[in-house]
Assembly symmetry: none
Homo-oligomer: 153 residues x 2
Amino acid sequence: MEAAAAPKPRSAPRTGAAALATELRIALMRATRRLRAEKADTDLSDGQLSVIALLEREGPKTPREIAAYERVQPPSMTRTLTALLDLGLVTRTEHPDDRRQVLIAVTGSGAATVRETRRRRDAWLTRRLAALTPEERDVLARATQILRRIADS
Amino acid sequence: MEAAAAPKPRSAPRTGAAALATELRIALMRATRRLRAEKADTDLSDGQLSVIALLEREGPKTPREIAAYERVQPPSMTRTLTALLDLGLVTRTEHPDDRRQVLIAVTGSGAATVRETRRRRDAWLTRRLAALTPEERDVLARATQILRRIADS
DNA sequence: TATTGTTATACTCTATAACTATA
DNA sequence: TATAGTTATAGAGTATAACAATA
């Protein structure tokens, strides 16, 4: 970090929750972004990876369900699923009850990619954590529990 | 579900840094996902807001410095800066020593936008943080600094 | 008529390569 | 030659609107 002098020394800075929210949000976004860069040796995008991870975790779903979970519109999911189908990472079968719908399921190859990516991300983060002091790791461990509660609220 | 078991020497499977890595990774991803869902209504993109927030925080910088900080390529930053210039949120002046370079600085309007957008955009997280104890907020504040270092490594 | 999924089309963000102007 | 910034161009991801098939 270079020594860049702030133009306006904040005399009475925002304190408490509001100030922390900004800093924490940026840190979370940035750390997650860096973590996402660690993935299996594939050309899969975040969205594609997220989809097969969801299917590997929860089983087959319809495109609309997947789109809702991923918070994108159905046409966007169509595009993502087409790419995954071409890569052989998911399959597309008729819905047994409703012929308008289709069921998307992860393949063995897709599931393997998911597991490999998890392994790499854990490995990357483990290396970083190992370089910290025990006190710092303790801070992160406690922060983990707090973040979990916040995310579930 | 367990983390992907690596065939590597993981003699101490779920202790110390490795165990924390898995839990922290999940917590980070989940919290970030939840945070993105609460994205406030602003005309500025994530990248644009991040740039003026950086300039408001650390003072004028060259496009290349900003690009490096934001981890994008210079042409991408040119586009972002052009948009911010058109919006009157930043200024563009000659570098005093090197005429190849330019200095980008946030305007009063830009700084006001940063503060206002922070307030609205962080509302969700601020409410969650306000519900924590001071000790818990302190943990998150310290975790923020650690996460920043990790993300930059 | 309503719903599921897709296609058509456009916009945003990012990237690489090439160009200019300075050093 | 090397560096800073920009322009030209392309690719990926997302969105809305319109369409086909089915309920």
